[in-house]
């Protein structure tokens, strides 16, 4: 099947090759299994091995049977909740949660063109949905970038060429001048997908017009936001699309050297992108005189060693230069004076992945998707207390409610929605009353949050907003490089105040103090890590002030999260004295004789909740309470305790 590697010299070469490759798969059935990190966690590799074994076993007996079967390992499909995901092409039959024991049955049915209904997605009414794109999770999305993830093997450049890959690059290099490419990107109004939302076209122009040689282009794949993994999915699942975007950018700007800064914590992504670069070099899409256009360009991969702040542009460049990744003051933009003092263009993975699509389909097509100010689509990682966890790609301007309820399938365990946190640690929370907000750069900013890299963490009624804000501040304080005082000291002081509030020692003036500190952090920090850190404080204070007040005035945590403010008690009238909780208590805080109601010693209790977990459902005698001990009586609702 492997044919000789021939260099590609023109657009025609590419098209011919794509056609050849397409013919190769004509009439064949492709079994593709997701090997993204999410599915790997569900042992998709074992499933893949089982399929290969099964095919081998069948081919021994009857080789003719499987001559039309091709197995393929693809990138992330996005629907991580139901992994491992298996899709049979061309019918697009989608199987979910496949285990290795199920493989023989599926392979057998697939060979005769049948489907196994039991692994297929079932909708609310229980009727099966066979086609991947008909599943509600996918139906409401608009996947222009993630779409190819599920169709190609990320380690094979042929797969990418088959679906028309690198044709946009060839179009640029053979038929467009750099200025025309730049104009196209500017017209498309592609805004930086890394969080800032700065128009990519304008940035490219600045770099192009800045004096200094050589110029550099960098892919920022230092995706440090907890709960966001779209960049990793693209790099793992479709590295060539990023590479193609990068080469186009280099052509438009006139750069000769590119870097891809990717986290060491993403081993698969590092491997795939390195393999992709080598393959591209082999067929002449990287190196000297690419496609006979006199463009000389090569790419290096730089692995980041795990520092959140190194995702900031000037810090990232310092890291590539080989020093400590700390940000610097940017009175001169990195676009003018970046890597080694030379003009440098830095964009996010997703931004680069959009470029080939824009070139191929035109700026007009791109602006037709999304809203006026923010065109195109955005990938979000929808995680937290939502039924369908995974990566979703939606057009800009979609309502939050649609993402969470239509695509995400609502809140887990039928609980009540409380807030959604967007934009990673730099973003804020959005409460229920703003759920109809159209999601784009400007609207999210207005609500006090931000687009960020696209993390979307859904929280339900059992999440304490004070605790969440404390969590993010802790994260940021940990990741702060310590160079500027407002960020280093301001965050620390905020954490002290939060710890005070969470332990029931909050003071009346604390809320005012938090607001004051937020203003200072926003105005005086050196980089975005500090200046956006207050978003979470300000938004939680704005939308969930009563929760803070409950902590301070009533020593009560309405969501029952802050341990010092909750306590467990055994209801005398329900406890049957089975001694199960006595045995499970790690600190021996529960005393009691058989057949008599037990008692928890509040002084010894560490509030681990083990007793509540083990108490048999039929008794349900252990309850969790919050608030001042004396005020709480049986059956009282939390809201009554607070007011």
């Amino acid at each position: 099947m492997d044919k000789q590697i021939s260099k590609i010299n023109s657009l025609k070469d590419l098209e011919n090759r794509a056609r050849l490759l397409q013919d190769e798969l004509n009439g064949k059935t492709v079994i593709s299994i997701c090997s993204g990190t999410g599915c790997k966690a569900y042992a998709s590799e074992e499933v893949h091995a089982a399929i290969e074994d099964e095919i081998k076993r069948i081919s021994k007996n009857d080789p003719a049977k499987i001559k039309n079967i091709v197995i393929k390992r693809t990138g992330c499909h996005g629907y991580c909740e139901r992994g491992p995901i298996m899709v049979i092409h061309p019918e697009e039959t989608c199987y979910m949660g496949v285990k290795k024991e199920d493989v023989p049955e599926i392979v057998e049915k697939t060979i005769i063109g049948d489907v196994v209904e039991k692994f297929v997605y079932k909708d609310e009414t229980g009727s099966p949905v066979f086609k991947e794109s008909d599943i509600p999770f996918y139906k409401f999305q608009k996947r222009i970038i993630l779409d190819s993830n599920s169709k190609i093997d990320p380690t094979s450049i042929d797969d990418y060429i088959r679906i028309g890959g690198y044709q946009a690059l060839a179009k640029c290099l053979t038929g467009m001048t750099p200025d025309e490419v730049l104009k196209e990107v500017k017209d498309a109004n592609l805004r930086g997908r890394g969080g800032g939302g700065f128009p990519a076209g304008i940035k490219w122009e600045t770099v192009k017009n800045a004096s200094g040689e050589p110029r550099y282009v960098i892919v920022n794949a230092d995706e440090g936001d907890p709960g966001a993994y779209m960049d990793r999915s693209i790099l793992e699942g479709n590295p060539h699309s990023v590479l193609e975007g990068l080469i186009i950018a280099a052509y438009a700007i006139g750069a000769s050297q590119g870097f891809i800064y990717v986290r060491q914590e993403y081993p698969q992504a590092v491997l795939n992108i390195i393999a992709a670069i080598e393959q591209a070099r082999e067929i002449g899409l990287l190196g000297e005189n690419i496609l006979n256009s006199k463009l000389n360009f090569d790419v290096k991969v730089h692995r980041g060693a795990g520092a959140f702040v190194s995702g900031e542009s000037s810090a990232l460049m310092a890291a590539i230069e080989g020093s400590v990744g700390e940000p610097r003051l940017k009175y001169i933009h990195t676009a003018v004076s970046g890597l080694w003092g030379k003009p440098t263009n830095l964009n996010n993975v997703e931004t680069y992945a959009n470029i080939p699509k824009i070139i191929k389909n035109g700026a007009e097509w791109f602006t037709s998707i999304g809203t006026k100010g923010s065109s195109g689509t955005k990938i979000f990682s929808l995680v937290g207390k939502v039924n369908n966890t995974g990566l979703v790609e939606v057009p800009m301007g979609i309502k939050l409610r649609d993402i969470i309820y239509k695509i995400g399938g609502g809140i887990k365990n039928g609980k009540k929605f409380k807030a959604v946190q967007t934009g990673g640690p730099s973003g804020g929370v959005i409460p229920e009353q703003l759920l109809d907000l159209p999601v784009d750069f400007d609207e999210l900013d207005k609500a006090g949050s931000m687009m960020g890299s696209g993390g979307m963490i859904v929280m339900d009624e059992s999440d304490c907003m004070v605790n969440i804000a404390h969590y993010f501040l802790n994260f940021l304080a940990d990741e702060s490089c310590g160079k500027c005082v407002p960020c280093r000291e301001g965050l620390r002081q905020m954490i002290y105040i939060y710890e005070r509030i969470m332990s029931g020692n909050g003071r009346v003036e604390d809320l005012k103090m938090l607001e004051d500190l937020s203003v200072i952090l926003e105005g005086a920090s050196l980089c975005a890590l500090g200046s956006t850190a207050q978003n979470i404080v300000v938004t939680t204070l704005k939308y969930f002030r009563e929760e803070y007040e409950a902590h301070i005035y009533y020593n009560s945590c309405p969501a029952m999260v802050c341990k010092p403010l909750i306590h467990y008690t055994i209801l005398e009238n329900k406890c049957s004295g089975c001694r199960i909780c006595v045995k499970s208590c790690p600190v021996n805080a529960i005393s009691g004789e058989p057949k008599k109601p037990h008692l928890i010693d509040q002084d010894l209790c560490i509030k681990c909740g083990a007793c509540m977990d083990v108490c048999p459902e039929k008794f349900d005698a252990v309850i969790k309470r919050t608030g001042i001990l004396e005020k709480v009586t049986l059956g009282e609702k939390i809201s009554e305790k607070v007011t």
């Binding site: 999410g38 060693a305 999440d463």
Partner: protein
């Protein structure tokens, strides 16, 4: 003979009541005095205690002796030259308590030396009073004893030195072998200062931590001061300046896992392993770490162990899992 069964409880109580502890070195010294067939000078005690515990210094010996004397556990006796000898005090023994006079007589009988006057005087004053010196050639005796002891000690030390030398040689050989490996990695990165972080990443993957000699070597090879290398190695989370356990347990502390209860999972692991996050168990088997996101949020709260993901394991599952590896 003295029934030399020392009442350690008694001594311990005594020391404790005075606000001190019966530490390991104090116990060693007491044992030496207890087992001694004859009276010992501070030097003798030091030499003997070195065999038991190489960490004891002469100052420790003197301090301990002074302390014991203060508590009346041992007695300091001056004989002959200006060297004091130490012997157990009467109340160090649980049952029969010999009188001071008897004790000294016994001791002197054993060593074959006659003491002229002992009656009626407390031992501390023995040396100070004129005329209470040993008869006979006490200096000669001490010299011979000393020479023998030093000879014996020298033999032991020479043996130990040889052993240490061999160990160091092996270590050096390993390090020299290492340098070959390091050179390979350095060459891969073209000995370029700008690639320092990339080199360190490769060393970290190779050794699982960054040994000091490696950093030294790298610094001298690519001409970067050690301080700068340490600056980078301590800035980035991926690098470790201390050896790591054989197995790493990585708990995701990302937001998605946090809201699904990763703190409780972490607490469970802490309870099982009895180490704090970031620490390594004493046998270098497990290292417990947290990361900001493992990127499999659907499984949350999730932990990574032995290249496998586990979703919210219970305490029992954890114990089984950690017990399953050797």
């Amino acid at each position: 003979m003295i029934d030399n069964k020392i009442d350690f409880d008694l001594i311990q109580n005594k020391i404790k009541n005075s606000g001190f502890k019966l530490t390991k070195s104090r116990r060693t010294i007491l044992n030496i005095i207890k087992k001694a067939k004859k009276d010992l000078t501070a030097d003798d005690i030091f030499v003997l205690s070195l065999k038991k515990d190489p960490g004891i210094g002469i100052a420790t010996v003197y301090r301990t002796l002074a302390l014991m004397e203060k508590f009346g556990i041992i007695e300091k006796i001056y004989r002959g030259s200006n060297k004091a000898v130490y012997s157990p005090a009467e109340n160090m023994y649980s049952n029969k308590k010999p009188t001071l006079k008897k004790a000294i007589n016994t001791v002197s009988e054993n060593s074959g030396i006659k003491i002229s006057k002992t009656e009626g005087l407390s031992p501390a004053y023995l040396g100070a009073e004129e005329g209470y010196y040993f008869k006979g050639k006490i200096d000669d005796y001490h010299n011979i004893e000393k020479i023998n002891k030093i000879q014996a000690q020298l033999d032991i030390w020479t043996g130990e030195l040889k052993k240490i030398k061999r160990e160091r040689e092996i270590e050096l050989e390993e390090i020299i072998n290492d340098f070959g490996k390091i050179d390979k990695i350095l060459e891969k990165h073209e000995l370029n200062k700008n690639n320092l972080i990339q080199m360190l990443i490769d060393f970290q993957t190779e050794y699982n931590w960054l040994p000091r000699h490696v950093l030294f070597y790298v610094g001298s090879k690519i001409n970067v001061p050690l301080s700068q290398i340490y600056g980078i190695a301590s800035f980035y989370k991926f690098f470790n300046l201390e050896p790591r356990g054989k197995y790493q347990i990585i708990v995701c502390a990302g937001t998605a896992c946090h809201v699904r209860g990763s703190m409780n999972l972490l607490q469970r692991i802490v309870n099982v392993l009895k180490i704090k996050p970031g620490d390594t168990t004493a046998d270098y088997k497990f290292t417990l770490d947290t990361v900001n996101c493992l990127g499999c949020c659907a499984l949350g709260p999730v932990m990574l162990f032995n290249n496998k993901y586990y979703s919210n394991p219970s305490k029992k599952e954890l114990e089984k899992l950690l017990g399953s590896v050797t």
